[in-house]
């Protein structure tokens, strides 16, 4: 039980008063951004990332732990009360959650969410503590070809398998890869696509890209519709958020089932928690049908809310494990976290545990601390957080615009970065307008350089023989699984297209 010892060391590092303060600040800020309608945990991390750069690494990552889970705790609040989920991972919990709110159980729904997020996160983080060393050991046998296969897997899983339109997903991937190419090429020292500008030699900052796509792009998108779409109406959450014993007993199996769905998906680069949350919701729906549960689909079933909520946080928890041990971001939020590590000159992956073990274990310990603090600030004050929903929209988005400018300017005090931010913000707006997914861009920007380096390294070793890319059982397995997933999703697309065509023919 070497892990427990290391974790205790991490707790000793993280439990200083000043570090506790950072977790608390992170948790409060993360929840606040998560609660605000239209802003999810990805945006919380992106907006607050530049702010943490002036802190020393340990303090910054401890604060990040709070922001990361805080955003997830807040996500479902706007879904439940407004019927507009803050993040797509909170969509599945909106169905039953909003029904509960409409039938006067808003406070109970918020409590179910908070405890569900706590349980999912807790179990997943515990799993990470025990299995991270195993993952690290696995990763040490990975060579260039394996890492390239992993990157290809992540690229295609996120852009083709789970996306609405394969062409648009790949287009997003291409945009991301192109953005990542700018700068000095590491292995050869060649300057690429910099137009001779020294400011671009380091490449386009990941901060500029994430803030531009997620924050400024969203503000432009809101601006394009705010005077035309009707506003959502909010349901008041009355009373304190609490569950009685009977509700707790009812929800507990659902929380655990949700966690079981969520935890494995943190390791698979399928874009985050959407797939497991919908799986969890679907299972609860089937179970309710078998049980003849009258609440499901009418007044709102506590189980139908509990399962997806736990699944979302369990995915986020194990995604952290994949990020730390393998250096593989499995969701957009994890990709931004990876950027944060790189900003401090650290590369997540097997070597991270050796080189900065103290920091990793302090980060894992602060994930636990963050969860406890979050459940403490979310349970009693759920209805206080809901008050954030009444901030007028124009002030909210004005604040976000100013804040994204602040964050980007703070990174390197360069005016050029602000111009790039506006340009990428417009690209983000265009992508939202035409339903081009954003996650592939972020994954490509983060993993693109790694994919290129590993591909060139592999081909240099084999002297140009492409066979090396499929030369080991690990790579063959990865490509086979990917091919199977692609075929399955193609069959599904075709089946639905045929069904739609028939629906049109037979009115």
């Amino acid at each position: 039980m070497e892990q427990l010892e290391l974790l205790m060391g991490g707790f000793a590092n993280a439990l200083t008063p000043i570090n506790l303060l950072w977790v608390l600040i992170g948790a409060v800020l993360g929840t606040a951004v998560g609660v605000l309608p239209g802003l999810g945990s990805a945006m919380a991390v992106a907006l607050l990332l530049p702010v943490t750069f002036s802190l020393e690494p340990t303090a910054a990552f401890i604060m990040f732990a709070g922001i990361y889970f805080g955003g997830l705790f807040g996500d479902s609040t706007s879904g439940i009360l407004l019927n507009t989920p803050g993040n797509s991972s909170a969509m599945a919990s909106t169905f039953e959650g909003h029904r509960m709110a409409k039938s006067g159980q808003a406070a109970k729904a918020l409590a179910t969410c908070a405890i569900g997020a706590f349980i999912g996160g807790l179990i997943a983080t515990t799993l990470v503590v025990f299995f991270a060393p195993t993952l690290v050991k696995m990763a040490t046998v990975f060579g260039p070809a394996e890492y390239f296969a992993l990157a290809v897997f992540a690229f295609l899983a996120i852009s083709a398998v789970v996306s609405e339109s394969v062409i648009r997903g790949i287009a997003a991937l291409g945009i991301g890869l192109a953005l990542a190419l700018v700068g000095i090429d590491g292995p050869s020292g060649t300057s690429r696509f910099t137009l001779g500008m020294p400011q671009l030699f380091d490449g386009i900052s990941v901060i500029v890209i994430t803030v531009g796509l997620l924050a400024l792009g969203e503000v432009f998108h809101i601006a394009s519709r705010i005077h035309r779409d009707p506003a959502a109406t909010q349901i008041e959450a009355k009373g304190r958020a609490r569950l009685n014993l009977a509700d707790f007993r009812k929800a507990l199996p659902a929380w655990l089932r949700g966690t079981a769905f969520g935890a494995p998906f943190g390791l698979i680069p399928a874009g985050g928690a959407e797939v497991p949350t919908f799986l969890a919701y679907g299972t609860e729906k089937q179970l309710a049908k078998r049980r003849n549960d009258p609440e499901f689909g009418t007044t709102g079933s506590i189980r139908g809310l509990a399962a997806p909520e736990a699944a979302a946080n369990a995915t986020a928890g194990t995604a952290m494990g994949a990020l730390l041990a393998l250096g593989l971001p499995t969701s957009a939020t994890a990709a931004i976290m990876l950027a944060a590590f790189q900003q401090y000159g650290m590369q997540p992956g097997p070597l991270l545990f050796e080189r900065s073990g103290d920091l990793v274990w302090a980060l894992l310990a602060s994930l636990f601390i963050g969860l406890v603090i979050l459940v403490m600030i979310n349970m009693p004050f759920a209805s206080v957080w809901a008050k954030l929903l009444s901030i007028p929209k124009h002030y909210l988005y004005a604040g976000i615009t100013v804040f994204s400018m602040l964050g980007v300017y703070a990174v390197s005090s360069a005016i050029l970065d602000l111009w790039l931010l506006i340009a990428i913000g417009l690209i983000g707006f265009m992508m939202r307008r035409y339903n081009i997914p954003l996650a592939p861009v972020l994954i490509a920007v983060i993993l693109g350089p790694m994919a290129e380096t590993e591909l060139r390294r592999a081909l240099a070793v084999s002297e140009g023989d492409l066979g090396i890319l499929v030369g080991s059982p690990i790579t063959v397995t990865l490509y086979a699984v990917l091919a199977a997933a692609l075929v399955l999703s193609a069959i599904q697309h075709l089946r639905h297209r045929r069904a739609n065509r028939q629906a049109v023919l037979v009115p």
């Binding site: 507009t84 648009r168 291409g174 779409d229 009707p230 100013v402 265009m430």
Partner: protein
Amino acid sequence: MSITQHQPEAGSAKETRSNPRPGFGTGRSEFIVVAVLYALAIFLTVGTVTMKVQGKSAPGPQFFPILVCIVLYLVATLLAIQILRSPKVPDHSIHPGHGQFSADMLHDLGHLGKEEDAAFSDGPSRTPARTWKTYTDWRTVGLMLAGVVAFVLVLNPLGWIMSAAMLFWVVAHALGSRRPYFDAGVGLLFSSITQLAFGAGLGLSLPSGFIGGIL
């Protein structure tokens, strides 16, 4: 991300309702995406061809950009063909994925039925009271864009507090606030607080502008 928001029929070019005989451009405004993709691909091609390669490593620095170029040209062409064949914006119905995720897949995974689809529409009524020439409200977007461009131009001469307050005011005004004097106050307060918290507190360097020069 407003996931539940669904788009009314027709693309940005013209609303079909006001225009019974749709022209070629109707529902095909997505060609702007094709143009952006081609522009990006051409930029990469020119950059790759004119690259001053250093060193002699086997797959050189031009290798990966060539792959990305191929992907971009291919995907742009396929997208153009798809828009030509089915000009409608694909996302004109209510569904949970909203472009980011395959709605069909989520439907299957979640065993979603009519009840869930109804959940999206029983919020406020989604039928617009009137129709517009373009889907996008270009006046508001243009105002915002002007605001951010002006901010970047005046940031160094005017300093953070003044220019951030200006930006706040412009965005709030564009998004529908009708209290100009109050907004100016809120904007100044917001920019001053950020300057204090992040400039003085966390040590981020924010430009002080000519006011800082006077002090």
